[in-house]
């Protein structure tokens, strides 16, 4: 069979899921093709290739672009082509994705009162929920034999959809070594990744930590009892694939993209540190957690021995209330200080992600005539939602009565101790300060965006900051906050700080100027340019240093500058997708906007 994979656009990271599915399909004797909506004409390629299966891998935010593409394919080819979508969006949203005319039973994934009953009219033939690589070959076999895939686990079709919305999931794949090598040729043949020196790979799968902004908490709940959560390739199998990669494609740098590359010093890490320099010998980057490094500092010793150049350790928030109570990171300021300090000692360049614009209550102004009522509301929220024990404070002050200045001060100090701040932007300033204090070399400061299935999203719905309409989200989280609880001025400050935060890592002495003046100005475009050049400098020299010809550098700057604009600007992103060829459906009013606009 001919299988065409569709991705929205290329980035500088390998689309590993597509590469794996292609390899699995080829192993079963099928032919595979790739269409990149960003620069390929989908309908022309469908006409030329005449695929029997068109497969989409969708993240929330880009899903509607793919629905549009699918609608175009189905309009032209009808049932001659079987279309299927997998990836994070259907995994966490399949219950409200209508395939073709069937009635869906609502309510759906979220119980929040503000959840809109939006049904996505996808016109797909099937959805794949969860890990798709196990069921993918069986699905292709069924389709090539003109059989229905209805009996397969993880698959949702219009005829097998259950009234209660449940899906049978296959056990986790715990033997990764049996998987074929990623089919990078499929992607490199059509994209700029061919000449990009950094190759992305993964040593394993799974993350057990409960970070609330991440899909893993929900994913692990879905897969509870379905096999070991963490599974990885043997060192020999991993290195064999990397050797093949380096032999066939120009490679200067390896990026291990596992959520957490290593959890402890174990036989695997020691073997990796021994063999990687001899087998591959290229500088690499990987992700770990600060608390794990503090618990087992030897991790860094072995990574250094293996030849690590740079490392990701996310801070996520410098504010203790957000980090512990909202994001549930399970690490404290000392973990962060220790881990970054140790990286500096080892000469490992550090990269940290930090999320700004998190909806959190602010401490009321003592001069506010409604101070007592507001403080009481906040305390009630802290007690009921975050399960904080405020018994001591309640014993000292009665918030139902008018308070004198001393009592107000007691309340304010107590809330400050918990981590609450006086202004919305103060939380983000805390975060920037922690990055600067820990001498983070390169940092990204995106704003919180709610994605389906995450506890943080449920939190934002519960407090009324988000209405649950995911289709309104921009394709990327590095743009203005979608939350209704922030004023326009606050959103401007957050957006500016998300750009200038990186500049402050290079020029920490600009803190006063940035915090007190620049973030209030409507000079976001200028800040974007400053951000872009700071990023280009740090990525190119500290994070993923590679050697290129002058013409390649100029071309990369041009391409990456445009790519960053699309990430950061909703308006530019909309214009871009409206210009795409081959999507003969009307574009919706906003990128990722409701399908039936």
């Amino acid at each position: 069979m001919k299988v065409m994979f569709v991705i929205v656009k290329e980035d500088y990271i390998d689309p590993m899921s597509t590469e794996l599915l292609s390899a699995l399909a080829k192993r079963e004797g099928h032919e595979t093709f790739l269409n990149v909506l960003e620069h390929d004409n989908l309908m022309e390629e469908v006409k030329a290739v005449r695929p029997e299966v068109v497969a989409f891998s969708a993240k929330t935010g880009e899903s509607n672009v793919m629905f549009r593409a699918n609608r175009a394919v189905k309009a032209a080819c009808g049932d001659r082509v079987f279309t299927v979508m997998g990836g994070p969006h259907p995994t966490f949203n399949y219950m409200r994705m209508q395939l073709n005319g069937e009635k869906l039973k609502l309510p759906l994934t979220f119980a929040g009162p503000a959840m809109p009953r939006v049904v996505e009219d996808t016109q797909l033939d099937a959805l794949v929920v969860g890990e798709g690589d196990e069921v993918w070959p069986a699905m292709l076999k069924a389709l090539s034999g003109k059989e229905s895939p209805d009996q397969l686990p993880n698959v949702v079709t219009r005829t097998n959809r259950r009234p209660d919305g449940s899906v049978t999931l296959q056990d986790r794949n715990m033997v990764l070594d049996d998987l074929p090598y990623l089919d990078r040729d499929l992607v490199y043949a059509k994209t700029r990744l061919k000449n990009f020196g950094m190759r992305t790979t993964m040593a394993g799968r799974g993350c057990p930590f409960p970070c609330t902004y991440c899909f893993n908490a929900k994913y692990n709940e879905m897969y509870k009892g379905k096999g070991k959560m963490l599974n990885r390739y043997s060192v020999d199998r991993l290195l064999a694939e990397l050797e093949s990669l380096v032999r066939h494609h120009p490679t200067q740098f390896i990026k291990f993209y596992d959520d957490v590359f290593v959890f402890r010093t174990d036989d695997w890490l020691m073997e990796f540190a021994e063999k990687y320099p001899r087998a591959i010998g290229l500088p690499f980057h990987c992700l770990v957690r600060c608390d794990l490094v503090r618990r087992d500092p030897e991790i860094l010793t072995y990574l250094k021995k293996a030849g690590i150049k740079s490392i990701s350790m996310s801070i996520e928030s410098g504010n203790p209330f957000i980090r512990e109570r909202i994001f549930k990171r399970g690490m404290d300021a000392e973990d962060i200080r220790f881990a970054f300090g140790l990286c500096h000692k080892h000469g490992i360049n550090t990269f940290s992600n930090t999320i700004l614009a998190v909806p959190v209550p602010v401490i009321p102004n003592p001069a506010d005539p409604e101070f007592e009522r507001k403080a009481d509301e906040i305390c009630a929220h802290l007690e009921s939602y975050h399960k904080l024990d405020l018994g001591k404070l309640r014993a000292q002050v009665d918030l139902t009565q008018k308070l004198d200045e001393a009592a107000k001060r007691t309340v304010v100090e107590h809330l400050e101790k918990i981590g609450l701040r006086h202004r919305v932007i103060d939380y983000d300033i805390d975060s920037i300060d922690v990055n600067v204090q820990n001498k983070v070399v390169f940092g990204e400061f995106p704003e919180l965006h709610p994605y389906p299935g995450t506890p943080a999203t449920q939190y934002t719905i519960d407090i009324g900051a988000f209405d649950g309409d995911f289709e309104r989200l921009h394709q990327n989280y590095q743009t203005v906050s979608p939350f209704t609880c922030f004023s326009q001025e606050e959103k401007l400050e957050q957006l500016n700080l998300s750009l200038l935060g990186l500049v402050l890592l290079i020029f920490p002495s600009w803190r006063g100027l940035v915090i007190n003046h620049l973030i209030k100005r409507r000079w976001t475009k200028l800040y974007f340019v400053m951000y872009y050049f700071a990023k280009a400098y740090l990525v190119g020299t500290k994070m993923y240093p590679m050697r290129y010809s002058f013409s390649h550098i100029v071309r990369t700057i041009k391409e990456s500058f445009f790519s960053e604009i699309l990430k950061h600007s909703r308006e530019e992103g909309e214009k871009f997708y409206q210009r795409r060829k081959g999507l003969n459906a009307q574009p919706s009013e906003v990128l990722g906007g409701p399908w039936q606009s």
Binding site: P208, G225, G227, M229, E324
Partner: protein, 113 residues
């Protein structure tokens, strides 16, 4: 896997029991089990150091979050499949006496549950 969600043994363990299990797993991994003794009322230094590392971040959390976080460390650093009842039973049986002692110590020291 035939186990149903309600049947997971790990879901019925308290955070104290999970923390004790985590400590025992760490000691086994580091091959220091033979130094685990509370003789003379003195806590082994490894236990003191372990509590020092974990308690600061655990004691502020509600019980369900404490259990989740300890479970994360069991699954990652100790490579325990906590949703395999057979595996959890085996680990608990292996060092039941020590785990009971550690749970008592946690209760005595005021570790929340």
């Amino acid at each position: 896997m035939a186990e149903l969600r309600s049947e997971f043994l790990a879901d019925r363990l308290t955070s104290r029991e999970l923390l004790a299990l985590l400590f025992v797993c760490e000691c086994r991994r580091k091959k220091v089990m033979d130094t685990m003794s509370f003789r003379g009322g003195m806590a082994p230094p490894a236990w003191v150091e372990f509590l020092d590392r974990f308690m600061a971040r655990l004691d502020k959390l509600p019980e369900d979050e404490r259990r989740y976080l300890i479970g994360s460390h069991l699954q990652s650093a100790e490579e325990v499949d906590i949703y395999s009842n057979a595996e959890i039973n085996r680990l608990l049986d292996q060092d039941r006496e020590l785990i009971n002692k550690l749970v008592q110590e946690l209760a005595r020291s005021g570790c929340p549950e």
